[in-house]
């Protein structure tokens, strides 16, 4: 029996390896999302703020320094000095590459020492309310620092920050965990769908239809290969995320994904979620006539599941429509435990995830295999 399974698995592996489209198909969409999300949400480094200090005294420079050095919980500063000339800064601000321009007048220090309402001019981009809020409050952080240096001991409020964890998860690694799961399910489903469709179109399905051996020898190797490809695709995404974390301007080193000794938990969750979708892929492979139709359906279903079921941010506490929609996709049940393992190297709460995913995967695969067998008229 094992030999039969191995021979069929080997055949499927060879076919898959000789079809570059099928090989690439599972990788491209998740890597595109990873790159896209990385561009949007990673390396949230300092934004450019030009400060032109014409102050004759020392306080102007101190104010500029305070604004540039105020630190963000991300681990860097809010602003950086672009070092441009006034003309270039004006152009960059006009073209939306700078957050703003601060002008400190010549009499700033004099007026501060005299207690005569020292003022600075602040032009800033407020193209939407959240950005405008950041522009204002980031400078407020700088002012707070400036007052601490300039008027020590006068603060009427002392703020202590208390965090429940040693370090917080940043948004991009959190998203990357979602992309990792997406890449696994896309890799596995695309592989399974493409192989089945190929057999259907080439007529080699007849070999199995007419064979005395059980249809199990047809489907189990495909499931095994789909699982392996899912792992491989996830592996590629894992490596890309690690490289991104290591690049200058990327994430601070070591802030990528790392399952540590709990890699088996991540693999288990990833495999179960993939199996939930592989069933769908099997049905598609038997039903559609053209590869691009099925390919598009798979890619888009995967992308939808990513966005709607916790790929971007936890959804367990979502309310309203989102609170209902996420439950339709298996991904959502795995994401919390998945993130706990990959971001904090601590055991996730597997119980609730397994209670849902194991039966879901079993039913999905079971029904799909029955459908395929029936389609092959073997039952």
């Amino acid at each position: 029996m094992l030999r039969r399974l191995w021979l069929n698995f080997r055949k499927d592996l060879l076919i898959w390896m000789h079809d570059p489209i099928t090989v690439a198909g599972g990788f491209i969409a998740p890597l595109a999302i990873l790159v896209g999300m990385g561009l949007m949400f990673s390396g949230f480094g300092a934004v450019d703020l030009a400060i032109f200090n014409e102050d004759k005294g020392p306080y102007g420079a101190q104010l500029a320094q305070a604004i540039w050095s105020a630190e963000s919980p991300f681990g860097g500063t809010y602003f950086c000095d672009p070092g441009f000339s006034r003309a270039d800064a004006k152009d960059c601000y006009r073209d939306n590459y700078f957050m703003g321009i601060v002008d400190i007048p010549p009499d700033f220090s004099a007026r501060l020492e005299a207690g005569d309402y020292p003022a600075v001019r602040y032009q800033f981009n407020n193209y939407h309310s959240d950005f405008g809020k950041n522009a204002r409050l980031y400078v407020d952080e700088g002012l707070w620092l400036f007052y601490q240096h300039t008027y020590p001991g006068t603060a009427p409020v002392e703020i202590r920050e208390v965090y429940p964890v040693a370090s917080y998860r940043e948004w991009f690694p959190s998203i990357a965990a979602g992309v990792l799961l997406l890449s696994a399910l896309l890799g596995g489903t695309f592989n399974c769908f493409a192989l089945l469709l190929k057999e259907n179109q080439a007529g080699t399905l007849k070999e199995y239809q007419l064979a005395p051996a059980s249809w199990v020898y047809f489907l189990l190797p495909k499931l095994a290969l789909a699982t392996l490809v899912a792992w491989a695709t996830a592996g590629v995404t894992y490596v890309v995320t690690a490289l991104w974390a290591a690049c200058p301007g990327g994430l601070p080193a070591g802030r990528g994904l790392d399952a540590g000794g709990l890699w088996w938990q991540a693999l288990l969750l990833l495999t179960l979620v993939t199996w939930c979708y592989v069933g769908v892929a099997m049905v598609l492979g038997m039903v559609v006539r053209q590869q691009f139709v099925g390919g598009v359906v798979i890619v888009l279903t995967g992308i939808m599941s990513f966005f709607l079921s916790g790929g971007m941010a936890p959804v367990e506490n979502a309310t309203g429509v989102m609170g209902v929609v996420w439950r339709v996709f298996p991904n959502g049940y795995a994401m919390s435990a998945f993130r706990d393992v990959l971001l904090f190297q601590r055991p996730g709460d597997l119980g609730p995830a397994l209670v849902v995913l194991v039966p879901w995967a079993a039913i999905s695969l079971g029904l799909a295999m029955l459908f395929v067998a029936r389609r092959m008229r073997r039952l």
């Binding site: 491209i28 969409a29 890597l31 595109a32 999302i33 790159v35 896209g36 561009l39 949007m40 949230f44 934004v47 963000s72 919980p73 991300f74 006009r94 073209d95 939306n96 501060l112 005569d116 020292p118 003022a119 001019r121 602040y122 032009q123 800033f124 981009n125 407020n126 193209y127 939407h128 959240d130 405008g132 809020k133 950041n134 409050l137 400078v139 407020d140 002012l143 707070w144 400036f146 007052y147 008027y151 006068t154 009427p156 409020v157 002392e158 703020i159 208390v162 965090y163 429940p164 917080y168 998860r169 948004w171 301007g249 691009f292 139709v293 390919g295 598009v296 888009l300 506490n317 989102m322």
Partner: protein, 359 residues
């Protein structure tokens, strides 16, 4: 053999080919709309509810008042940033309570302990900035004339929510996605099915054949952007201030995107890879071009790249239509026109090399 009638026949024939690529038409038109509905959920609220636990002292009350008064200054009806709420009895940090501000008056100051639930660092930053802003207002009130006055000059007279900017990004995305998702597979299918031979052996001017295909993709993209603009208008009440200018800009932009989509199809020549490559390049060009957020959030290298993306200038041209009282950069229109001419020219060159040149 050039005539209006022939062009009309070619155009009709092009539209009939929709039947073979219905999936892509559906995706190309619906995807931006669905993305808009999904991603607009990500729009962060400006007003955060922050729970407070105070000792009832006047100092604590003063800070709570400052929290409630913290708002977007410099614009009319600027939103408030904090909605301070007393911690409900029996409630604790976690799930719905994401942060807690505990206030305890001391002799000479108010000691504030800011506690957070297990949330991501972006949320931590948001809560912290708000508290700092409120605390700064309290300090500046005490400093009086010694406090630094910020003379605010916001760039835009209105400061709308993120969805207004994202509407502009959606419109640009609608054009781009529909052009590439339809144009690339349309051409690739001809190669896969062998029907490219009809164009190869035709005595009709290749410019006419190409023009019909380009116009066909452009028209579909214009329908897509029309639907997107309608959705944004009805859902958000956001309409372009000058409909004719808007239409003209979109026609110009569809030349660029349709040319790009057809070029991808000519170079790749297989449907599914053309779709996937189109997906990736569209997403990247849209992002670096400021479709999701201004290029200010990009690193220096990507800011340089964004200067080469037509999307960047298209977004600049849309600003005056959605942000009253603003103007676009003077060279933006020239660059977009140049891109349109250049992309169409490149399409012709590639078409000749791939389709017409004998092997």
């Amino acid at each position: 053999m050039i005539s209006i009638r022939r062009f009309w026949w070619l155009l009709q024939a092009e539209f009939r080919l929709t039947r073979g690529l219905l999936v892509f038409h559906f995706i190309g038109i619906m995807m931006p709309l669905i993305d808009f509905l999904l991603l607009s959920q990500l729009a962060p609220p400006v007003t955060f509810t922050m729970y407070t636990a105070t000792d009832g002292s006047p100092q604590a009350a003063r800070l709570v008042t400052a929290m409630a008064a913290l708002r977007a200054d410099g614009v009319p009806d600027g939103p408030f940033y904090i909605d301070p709420q007393p911690l409900p009895a029996g409630a604790q940090l976690g799930s719905s309570i994401q942060d807690l501000v505990e206030m305890q008056a001391q002799e000479d100051r108010l000691l504030v302990t800011h506690r957070y639930a297990n949330i991501d660092s972006n949320l931590v930053k948001n809560y912290r900035n708000r508290l700092t802003g409120a605390a700064l207002d309290v300090w500046e009130e005490e400093l009086g004339a010694r406090a630094v006055t910020l003379e605010l000059e916001p760039r835009y007279a209105i400061e709308p929510s993120f969805t207004r900017y994202f509407t502009m990004g959606l419109l640009v995305m609608a054009v781009f996605v529909s052009s590439v998702f339809i144009g690339a597979p349309l051409v690739a299918k001809d190669f896969e099915d062998g029907t490219i031979l009809e164009a190869r052996l035709s005595p009709v001017s290749p410019a006419l054949i190409l023009a019909a295909r380009l116009v066909r993709v452009m028209l579909t993209s214009l329908v897509a952007v029309g639907l997107a603009a309608g959705l944004a208008g009805l859902y958000l009440g956001v309409w372009p201030s000058d409909g004719w200018r808007f239409a003209g800009l979109m026609v110009l932009y569809t030349v660029i995107t349709a040319s790009f989509g057809l070029t991808v199809g000519l170079l790749v020549r297989k449907i599914l890879p053309a779709f996937l490559i189109g997906l990736v390049t569209t997403l990247v060009l849209w992002l670096v071009g400021g479709g999701f957020a201004l290029p200010v959030i990009l690193g220096p290298a990507l800011q340089v790249v964004s200067r080469f993306a037509p999307t960047t200038y298209m977004m600049q041209l849309l600003f005056p239509l959605y942000y009253p009282g603003t103007t676009s950069t003077p060279e933006a229109l020239g660059i977009v026109v140049g891109c349109a001419v250049g992309s169409f020219g490149l399409l012709i060159v590639i078409y000749r090399a791939v389709v017409l040149r004998p092997r």
